[in-house]
């Protein structure tokens, strides 16, 4: 690992993960009949930096492109345009040893622990397999590593879990196994894609506890993908709000919630149930009940739903992310 330490000191300011004008579009077949073919742009010229040791929250509704961003970062897919950089290196160009190292250092936790674990493998097998694949440690030592990792995710006494199968575990326990499988390789980036959306609240909060403990102890860089502003605010250092493939606001978690600048972020906050809302009376009323017609091309992605939109400017031009203070940015002409 000596090389890692060296590069880390050399590249103090370099983000661990960087998206540079990343666009990812999918072709949807029209079922075979003529003319049904369309292109859906899932991410549109997204720029994003995730820095060493932070928990970064990507918040958006279903279909906003947040899972696509995660899949690009772990190289399950490639962008159509733009680059994904890991410690400054283009992920798409990684080959051979470097690629294998990347695969070891960047780990993902998926949403559904009922589907992400192989039902025919025991917990020991599931958590040990990554070590075997990457030829880490002697086979005899691997079990100790597995036990240590299971303990860290709160599956104790770990010995009693080794020979259990996923169907013998609850949803929360399965998600802990999935976290252990990701952690066993000592990654420096952990990407968690809605890790608690299938779980009850009392289990979800335990998973948050594990994730923040892991981050604190191991200084892992973490991307936390969620549809919940409250969860992102709770767990993350910084938040980006994504709407229809565009990052519309990004900044320190507290600042984005206390001082939201983009009308879409404001609409999301308005929509939260008032229960336990610290700003119970605060309302922005930025969301149009009946959408306007979509701008032809190039307008603001939120134009059709935005109450305060400027009918000329916002229809014709797409705002870039800009910041008044250098740390909290939003992509809205009205804020400038």
């Amino acid at each position: 690992m000596s090389t890692t330490t060296m590069t880390q000191s050399q590249t103090q300011a370099m983000p661990v993960i960087r998206l540079e004008r990343v666009t990812r579009a999918y072709h949807t077949g029209g079922g075979g009949f003529a003319g049904g073919h369309t292109i859906v742009t899932s991410l549109n010229e997204v720029d994003l930096d995730i820095h060493a040791g932070e928990i970064f929250g990507l918040v958006g509704e279903s279909g906003s492109g947040k899972t696509t961003a995660a899949r690009l970062m772990v190289r399950l897919e490639h962008p159509n345009h733009g680059r994904v950089l890991y410690h400054g290196e283009n992920v798409a160009k990684l080959r051979g040893k470097k690629l294998k190292r990347f695969r070891r250092r960047v780990q993902m936790i998926f949403q559904d622990p009922y589907q992400s674990l192989n039902p025919y493998q025991s917990v020991q097998h599931i958590v040990e397999e990554p070590l075997a694949i990457h030829k880490l440690g002697l086979p005899a030592q691997r079990q100790n590593k597995v036990i240590e990792t299971l303990t860290q995710v709160g599956l104790t006494p770990s010995m009693t879990y080794l020979h259990r199968y996923p169907h013998q575990l609850s949803g929360g326990q399965r998600q802990r196994v999935a976290i252990a499988r990701a952690l066993v390789l000592s990654p420096d980036v952990l990407i968690a894609d809605e890790p608690t959306s299938m779980l009850d609240a009392s289990i979800a909060i335990q998973i948050y506890g594990i994730l923040s403990e892991v981050q604190r102890r191991r200084q892992v860089t973490m991307l936390f993908i969620t549809h919940s502003l409250a969860a992102a605010h709770f767990l993350c250092d910084r938040i980006a709000v994504i709407y229809r493939g565009h990052i519309v606001e990004i900044g320190p978690a507290k600042s984005v919630i206390a001082d939201p600048r983009h009308p879409y972020t404001q609409a999301l906050l308005d929509a939260l149930p008032r229960f336990g809302h610290p700003w119970g009376e605060r309302r922005f009323d930025t969301l149009r009940e009946i959408p306007r017609s979509e701008p032809a091309t190039g307008g603001c992605p939120f134009f059709s739903r935005c109450v305060p939109a400027d009918l000329d400017l916002c229809r014709q031009r797409r705002p870039a992310l800009k910041s008044r203070d250098g740390i909290h940015s939003s992509a809205c002409f009205l804020v400038e």
């Binding site: 509704e61 279903s62 609850s170 929360g172 009850d200 609240a201 009392s202 289990i203 979800a204 909060i205 335990q206 948050y208 506890g209 923040s212 549809h227 919940s228 502003l229 409250a230 969860a231 605010h233 709770f234 767990l235 919630i257 609409a267 999301l268 906050l269 308005d270 929509a271 939260l272 149930p273 008032r274 229960f275 336990g276 809302h277 610290p278 700003w279 969301l287 009940e289």
Partner: protein, 329 residues
Amino acid sequence: MTPLLEIKDLSIDYRGGRGRRTTAVDDVSFSLSKGESLGLVGESGSGKSTIGAAIMGLLPGNAEITSGQILFNGEDLLRIDAERLRQMRWKHVAMIFQAAMNALNPIHRVGDQIVEAIRVHEPDTTPEDARARVSTLFEQMGIALERLGHFPHQYSGGMRQRAIIAMALACNPQLVIADEPTTALDVIVQDQILKTIRALQQKLSIGIVFISHDIAVVADVCHHVAVMYAGQIVEIGPSAEVFATPGHPYTRMLLGAHITLADEGGKLTDAVCRIADTAVSASACRFAPRCPHATSQCTQTAPQWIRQGDNHWIRCAMTTEGKPCPPQP
């Protein structure tokens, strides 16, 4: 005055393989007046959906009602014959299902499906009258009328859920069971649907049993709340009171685990949410293995109902009347 819905001592078992039985609902009682809403909250497996299905007479084949009554306007739905129940269902008691593709038939136009629902339950209605009623419902739900002729796959998730609500309201029911009606929806759509439900409930004075795992949603929509744990109601009362002064340790745990914008990282205490997979005997408090206050008494005797306020009751042996279980040390 007879309440709109009164559930008395309801217990439901599920039969498993090899003669195994699981009690999903254990001695549940509550009542609901006309125009009121009651939220059933609890985690998955607590039995809340089973109660909803039992009211609708839609329990799966391996479920068995072992005791109790479900009185709708004083008439026991468990004792009436199948034909009468079929007539009551949808006309008087309707259900809003979770926003899923399969609550609507994919090969029929949405408008036609609702017209069909009306004409099955009210055979005297002419097709024209039924269509006019569906148009009014769509207007109330905020769906454009041209959508009547579209198929479910042409609807967005939120619009489909509105159509499902329109279908539930088609025959002017007095009671609606809403089972996680906004769970699969994004927060903005959820907010719009909840507003619609609240507005319609006031306007039409429907009784609603609102089943949800999300206490914030229940707090927003419901007059009363019943908190369920492992098949039993452990706390019941006016929702403002229950959420402001929760008496049962489980209610407190649920509230503690619910993350709001007011919370910061400090909430992550392991004690609030202990896991337990140990089975509990019927003559004990179900929550005892997870409860920070449990004593040997809790594992030996089933707790009795203790009054906390006017209509606020909890089932916890560690409390005395008017005094909730002491807060977490």
